[in-house]
Symmetry: C2
């Protein structure tokens, strides 16, 4: 105990004689090139955190929300959760001989992903229900953990968690260092993200919001379990994102980060609040180091959002120009 | 800046010469009488927080969940949210002439609360839908804030927020001082609790879980609003509590606090996890200072839960014996 107090005493001495630290000399966003995007982030954070600033926001209200697919990690050739589901279909096929004659499974098992997706959202829902339900929440968590630890991306050969954007990881850490509470608000499944979001993003499970299926409480041999049912509970996209933010956070964020039209309402809801607000779109402009797509994309389309960003003066991140690196090597 | 550093310097000096503080001499639960209940709380917190303890739990996993009605504040003569709804019916009656001939409103407006509740849950839902929906979330928040700031309890004459249990406030603070994250998991409406839970309980909106009605995103004159719809989204009671905990926290709590059979599944789910777990029931035994009720109560019934608490060795708080005061004067 004495030793600890002695340290405090020495710390007091050192700080007293060292004088104020110049915070500006440390670059919290080293993977960001200097430019408008980086500067807009720093300016906003400074405005809302500096004591005496007319735009000061108390720490409890510094809520920042992030989309996941295409904003924090990549989403090509398709959402990674879909790649997970496709692999699950193959793994489960021996227990489902009927899938050989049932769409979308039949096409999938023949390797025809496009054919399987012919019915769009309907196909996706069927594949998700068949692969994400019918087990306990603990069992599903184990399946996700195993997959995320071993599965590799079809073209980069990387683990999926090695395809998170390094500049965005720095941004998350920078915001938290400034007493922001960071949330994910994703169209992806909550239970698909939670098993690794804390380790990879530093975002704890209770700050992961997303789509969900219904679960049911059940006693099995006297022990309670939660069973995942093949029924959509909440699809967290577009207009549903502000709804989810309201229901689960209950406070309007002051900063929102997305990359597609699916995030537009979240950015609108965030910026419509009083006081200082920040909205940022990641624009996928880097066909060499990542992928280039926007208005014509079938997944992660950025069309109306691009117009809005320009009209409203939101920050647009040009991945090619603004990011020194995409992934950490 | 210099002045702040000088304070750190002085603090170091003072601490260095003051010698070690004996943590045991500070009573974090001064409104609790010494006894089994108080000791069980302190023992549990010590076990999970002491460095080197075999039962040590990392701070991020120190999740504690609290029921609200009857656990953190009183619930007699009926849930306070129902009293709020009844007053809203009276306030809204002039705009609803048809209520004079429609149950449950007709009975209510004649002062016959029991008659209005004749259809049980169905009556409650109709009253809640008529009074809690059809407005924006911001409008509803204002209504709740006005009511909670001015309305008084029919028999004690206190503000409702003056009917929170002082021993439980100390318990919340004690847990948070030990790096627990405290959540409300209530059958009451999320939007009824959030406007005051942070001020009264120190629990921020994002840690308030409860029942909810559906809300819809809408643009009004170009500005986004969320409109409350007359449709139940989630009724957070019994089996639904572990479901809500899973969906919104995503981590199994290590401690759970309730007062009725509606909390039983939450306590079972909490204690069924691995490692150290804590479950506590507040038993309403004090007919003089508060109310005495358990197995026969229509609201806040504690029957199966009482048996379980005894069988499982959960902590049972005898309000009359264990609490020095109920409310702060």
């Amino acid at each position: 105990m004495k030793r600890k107090l002695f340290r405090v005493f020495i710390l007091g001495l050192v700080l007293f004689f060292a004088g104020p630290v110049n915070a500006q000399t440390v670059d919290s966003l080293p993977s960001w090139n200097d430019g408008k995007a980086k500067q807009s982030i720093i300016d906003f954070v400074t405005r809302v955190t500096e004591n005496g600033s007319p735009d000061f926001v108390p720490p409890a209200e510094r809520i920042a929300v992030f989309d996941n697919d295409g904003t924090l990690w990549a989403e090509r050739p398709m959402y990674f959760q879909l790649l997970f589901a496709l692999e699950r279909v193959k793994a489960l096929a021996p227990q489902h001989p009927e899938w050989k004659d049932t769409e979308p499974f039949a096409s999938l098992l023949e390797g025809d992903v496009e054919g399987a997706m012919a019915d769009g959202m309907k196909s996706v829902v069927e594949i998700v229900m068949a692969t994400h339900a019918g087990m306990t929440t603990a069992e599903f968590e184990t399946i996700v953990k195993d997959w995320i630890a071993t599965a590799r991306h079809p073209t980069t050969g990387r683990l999926y968690t090695e395809m998170v954007y390094q500049p965005m990881l720095e941004l998350l850490a920078y915001l938290r260092a400034n007493d922001f509470k960071t949330f994910i608000v994703s169209g992806g499944g909550i239970e698909f993200m939670r098993p690794w979001a804390e380790r990879v993003y530093g975002i704890p499970p209770e700050q992961v919001i997303g789509s969900s299926i219904k679960v049911e409480y059940e006693l099995r041999d006297g022990a309670p379990v939660l069973v995942r049912l093949p029924e959509i509970d909440f699809y967290d996209d577009k207009e549903a994102k502000p709804v989810a933010i309201h229901q689960q956070i209950g406070r309007r964020p002051i900063a929102a980060f997305g990359n597609s039209d699916g995030d537009l309402q979240m950015l609108q809801w965030t910026t419509a609040g009083d006081g200082p607000r920040f909205a940022l779109y990641v624009h996928h402009t880097d066909g060499e180091r990542e992928w280039a797509y926007d208005r014509e994309a079938s997944m992660g389309r950025l069309d109306k959002g691009l117009d809005q960003a320009q009209a409203q003066g939101w920050t647009l991140v040009d991945m090619k120009q603004d990011w020194k690196v995409i992934y950490l090597d």
